[in-house]
Every structure is written in C-alpha cells, then in structure tokens.
C-alpha cells in the first residue's frame, strides 16, 4: 500500500512583506506522512521580488516543485486551485491622507445633495408633495413644509437604516449591504487578478528561469 500521499489545500488570499521567502506551510494546509511533513512545510515555493504587488501561485507549479524534491510523494489537491499573495509593506493598511479624506467628504456631500435635488425635479416631487398635502388635509399649499422638512430628515434616517449603521453602532449583527458590496468588489478584483495575472506571471517566470 502506498502511504506516501500528501493532501494539500491552498489557503485563501494571504499577505506577505516584500522580499519574504514563502514556504509551502505558509500558503497551504498539509496532511502528509510524518517523515515528510516538516520538510514539506518548509519547502520554499516562492521568493518575492522587491517590486511585486500581487503574486499568483497555482497548484500545478507547487506540485511540480514537490515532485522535483520528493519524487515518491503522491500529491492530492483539495479546494482552491490557485492562491493570491498580496505583498504589503506593513500588515496594517496605510492610513488615508486626511486632506484627501476631507476632499472626498465634501465631494460626496455636495454630490449627493445635488443628486437628491435632481431626483426631486426628475420625479416632480414638489407636485407630489403638494398633492399629498392636499389629500391628507384637504388644503392647497404651495410650500407644504410641514411635510417636507420631516421628509428631508427621513431621507437620512432611511439611508442609515439601509446601511445598518447608526454612526459607529450597528443596529444588528448581520453584515450591512455596504460590507457585502465591499466583499464582492474585493472578490471580483481577486478573480480578475487570477484570470489575468496568472498569464503575466507565467511569462515573467519563464523569462526569469531562462535568465538563470
């Protein structure tokens, strides 16, 4: 019976520092016979170059490296077929520039104010408010402010409800649509990287190997 079977499962996205040396144990979970386990964990998979941001490593490359070093191990792969390594300078994300944040804040503030006014004129909101005021009270009023000021505050309330945030405090534990949207955006980016970067890196890798 062949007992030299190694089961490998690549982790999700991982973060590394520039110039770090990446071993198999850092990017994959490994189940292997005792005698191989340690050396598999320490098997060097990749050396990060100084200028790299994203590295994609696929299982085929890992398997061929393992086969080179340990010809008698049989490798089984489980789960993801490739892993994205993001190279970041420090584990904590960079602090945003305060001036830029203020700029974007004002941009969004004025922009969304303009957008809601555009919307009001698009749908003739004034007519609707006057009509609604008449339907409720039986009186015509050119400026139904009693309806419109609470309406304006309600818009803010509705947005807060939708995003599930009362400033820092969450209304309940489920993720808000914004968090879901962020997650989806990140996932799309990762998928794009997997689809494109993979080809790029392969070419680069070949060039590098030829150079050596």
């Amino acid at each position: 019976m062949n007992s030299n079977i190694a089961y490998l499962s690549l982790r999700e996205k991982q973060y590394f520092k520039p110039n770090s040396e990446i071993t198999l144990g850092q990017i994959a979970q490994i189940i292997a016979p005792k005698k191989y386990e340690k050396s598999l964990h320490q098997l060097k998979i990749y050396q990060v170059l100084p200028q790299e941001h994203l590295v994609v490593i696929d299982f085929m490359k890992i398997i061929s490296m393992i086969k080179n070093k340990f010809p008698d191990i049989e490798v089984y792969t489980i789960g993801n077929q490739e892993i994205i390594l993001e190279i970041v300078n420090s584990p904590v994300p960079k602090k945003p520039n305060l001036l830029a944040v203020v700029f974007v804040w004002i941009l969004l503030f004025i922009g969304s104010g303009l957008a809601i006014m555009n919307f009001h004129y698009d749908v003739s909101m004034l007519d609707v408010h006057q009509r609604l005021y008449y339907l409720v009270t039986g009186q015509e009023k050119a400026k139904p402010l009693l309806l419109q000021i609470p309406y304006s505050l309600g818009i803010g309330l509705g947005m807060i409800l939708f995003f599930n945030h009362l400033f820092k405090k969450k209304i309940n534990e489920e993720p808000s649509p914004l968090e879901v949207e962020m997650f989806l955006y990140q996932k799309n980016l990762d998928q794009y990287v997997l689809a494109n970067e993979n080809e790029d890196k392969k070419n680069k890798q070949n060039n590098r190997n030829e150079g050596q």
Binding site: P93, P96, V104, R131, Q139, P150, Y151, G156, F162, P177
Partner: protein
Amino acid sequence: MITIFQDVALIVIGLAGGLAVGSGLVAFITVLDIIPRLSQIIKGREYLVAFQYSLVFGTVIFTLLDFRSIALQLPGIITILVGVYAGTFIGMLAAALTEVLNVLPILAKRLNMAEAILFLLMAMIFGKITGSLFNWLIFIDY
C-alpha cells in the same frame, strides 16, 4: 351599442395599463431589495407576505385617493408623520441605488480610505438631508 364597445375597450386598456405599471413598480422595489432589507433589520422574515400586501394596498389606495381627489381632511400635523415615512422610504431607495453602493468600495480600495468609509457614508447621508432641505426651503423660491 357603440358606447358599450367603447366602455369595454376603456376597461381593457385601463386594466392592461394598470397591470403593466403595477408590476413595473413592484419589480422596481424588488430589485432594490428594500423589503428584504427592512425585514432583516427588524428580524421579521415571517412577515414578508404582510409587507408585500402593505405595498400592494398602499399603491392601490393612494392611486384611488389621487384619482378620485379624495381629501382626508386630517389636521396638518399628521403630514409630519407622512413626511417622515415618505422620506425614510426615499432614503432607503437612494441608498439602495447602485451609485452609492458602487462608489464606496472603490473609494475604500483605490484611495486607501477603508478606515474612513463610515465617515464618508455620513457625508452622503448629510449631503442628502442638506440637499433636500435646501431644495424645499431656499432653492424653491428662485
């Protein structure tokens, strides 16, 4: 004879138009996920059907009031309540529109502003409130 024919034609046209507009409205609100979102917040998924009926009754009753010009003759103070509800609904609508949802993740990632995202969300919310108030209090006079 011809008037009966006309009446039948009008009824068919009216019904067809109403069907199209009604299903369009429901489709629009469904796409924006407002009802699931609300029932998620109050943890009342089992009332989903009730909320659907409230949407249908709201649409039908307000259409009737509007078309028949039935004024309810209620005191003006009631419109404060109507205003808050209407505004909250529009606020959810505005928040659900993809412009808001798509801009923020890009800001967070591209401009390195993941930490400030809540702060920026507040900008959008205050912007909407201010814009709306400005619209009704000042802009309207010019």
